[in-house]
Amino acid sequence: MKQSITLGNVTRFIGLAGFIETLKNVFAGKLDKDDFKNFLRKVIMPLASVLLFFVVWYLGANKLHEIEANHLINKALVEQGPAEAEKLRACIASGDKSCQPNALPSPVQVWGAYQTLLADHYVISADKKAFIEKTAAINEKRIANGENPITYTGRPSFVDQIYTSIITVFAGFLLALFIAVPIGIVIGLSPTLRSSVNWLIQIFKPVSPVVWFLLVFMIVKTFTKNSSSDSAFIICFISVGLCSMWATLVNTAMGVSSVDKDYINVAKVLKLGPIQKVFKVILPSSLPLIFTGLRITLSVAWMVLIAIELLAQSPGLGLFVWEEFQNGANDSNSKIIAAMFVIGLIGFMLDRIMLTIQKMVSFNKND
């Protein structure tokens, strides 16, 4: 099955197929009465809802801004007198950043913050590049002498944070995969084992990510006592993995234990050995369920990651959001909202990737 990357494939991948398809028909003039309804439903309504979202956001943000501003002006009036209050009102009205109240940012401000973050990224990467060039010669010498090379320790840019977060979530996801799938298979195969570890699964499944983080911290702390390197990343991805693996574990066990009786009969009639039976009949038939579990695991991992990064002080989007919140600069709130959208979009992409893989391995597909 060879697939080229076409516009159609890409839009189908991100779930916009109906939208683009209808739009194409409109421009090709192939629209009849039925298509008009479709056009309304698939093009006009989604666009309208996006527009509505931004309008509500914009108006809401303006209102909140107004309330905060009035509060500040009243405070100035009481504490510093009418002259100062008038000065502050003029300052706020002029849009000067130094006197703006701290409120929900409007879409325009968020867009501005997003561009600031990108610009900041280019500055930092240029900086980094310069640093690497500058230290190249020194590092060569240091390596030759058996010393550690000098690494760039400046602050990471927003894009670097995204990158770190994605690495962490994949590390956690792989950990979950390598723990949950084999255990799930073993549990699924043996009803005895299943009933004996059921309590454990039931109790640990609903535990909050925060508690998992603390548990992992207690254990990893002991192991990394003598190491000088930062263990935040290790703690972070192990917690993410442990917290998100349950969906895969349960789904794998269920898939393996509920294989169609017909397939089991086939395995018996063909006299497949136990290992053959597992690899040639049981696993392929439970693959769709395993992948459903993995898809849930990846979504949960991404959701939990942000909270755990924040707690673990491990670099990434979670830490970025927390630091911006602590920072309290003029555009901090805007940056947090920008990060929120980025987090949402990446979560969506991860889910789509898993869905595509799931469709590929599922033998029930209709095409």
Binding site: V250, V266, V269, L270, K271, L272, K280
Partner: protein, 279 residues
């Protein structure tokens, strides 16, 4: 010594007060090279009987003897064609057959095995579809794959559990001929379970009705003395065929009526709930 022998077979499901006796006092002998058909109503325990013979189930009482040896578990000597095809949906036609062949002849090389697969897939006229998955095939084609898979293991006995039950009449006719052709080629012993009297008469040497369960037993056997190869269209005018057909149908109708009159008494249904999967 009979080739396959069932002696006083009883099979019950469930335990304690909830036991249902599905089969009761089944006695059956099949000689080598014979084609025997067992005809019965749906739900009369046909599949249970077939699973006892192929070794998927064990009788509660009595013995199943295959070539004088008691049947313990499944064996490559008894090939099974399942009612619902039971093809593995993630494998192609060729792979489904290959898997069976590989198990049956573990010592053969890969190319030899491939040759056997090709031969049997060709025998059921599915060579063009060898790389397709079961999902892409029609019901008749799927059942042909199932036939190829069972036969490619070169079993000494073929056990067919309503193999053509889900097919339309025309496909059914074609497949009947194909199965007969294959059976005629090297005269393997065959046991056909069916709910179609005509099919039984057309294909088998002997027809044995299964009286409906619970407590199903085998009825008196009917010998089919029609010369092979049988011609389906000519068969309709054959007086012998008509007579046998009418006798068997009358017999089955009688048991059906008996069952209906018996059914007036009220049964207390067991309280069954689906097995829950609690996690």
């Amino acid at each position: 010594m009979a080739y396959l022998e069932l002696k006083n077979i009883y099979k019950t499901y469930g335990q304690g007060d909830n036991t249902t006796e599905v089969l009761s006092n089944i006695n059956l002998t099949i000689e080598e090279g014979e084609f025997v058909a067992i005809v019965g109503f749906t739900g009369s325990g046909k599949t249970t009987l077939v699973n006892l013979i192929n070794g998927l189930l064990e009788p509660t009482k009595g013995e199943v003897l295959f070539k004088g040896e008691p049947v313990v578990g499944t064996s490559h000597e008894r090939g099974v064609i399942f009612q619902n095809y039971s093809l593995l949906p993630w494998l192609t036609v060729g792979q489904n057959v290959y898997m069976a062949v590989k198990e049956a002849f573990p010592k053969k090389s890969k190319s030899e095995l491939q040759a056997i697969v090709a031969e049997y897939v060709d025998m059921v006229n599915l060579t063009p579809a060898i790389n397709k998955r079961p999902k892409e095939l029609s019901g008749g084609m799927r059942q042909r794959v199932s036939v190829a898979r069972a036969l490619a293991m070169k079993p000494e006995m073929i056990i067919m559990d309503e193999p053509l039950g889900a097919l339309d009449a025309l496909t059914r006719g074609n497949l009947q001929d194909e199965i007969l052709r294959i059976w005629g080629k090297d005269k393997r012993t065959a046991l056909l379970i069916t709910n179609d009297v005509d099919e039984g008469i057309y294909m088998a040497d002997r027809i044995i009705p299964l009286r409906p369960g619970p407590r199903a037993t085998l009825g008196p056997e009917f010998k089919i003395d029609i010369e092979r190869p049988r011609d389906k269209t000519a068969l309709n005018d054959n007086p012998n065929f008509k007579k046998t057909r009418n006798t068997i149908i009358e017999y089955l109708m009688d048991i059906g009526n008996e069952r209906k009159s018996e059914a007036k008494k009220e049964y207390v249904l067991p309280e069954v709930a689906p097995k829950s999967f609690v996690w």
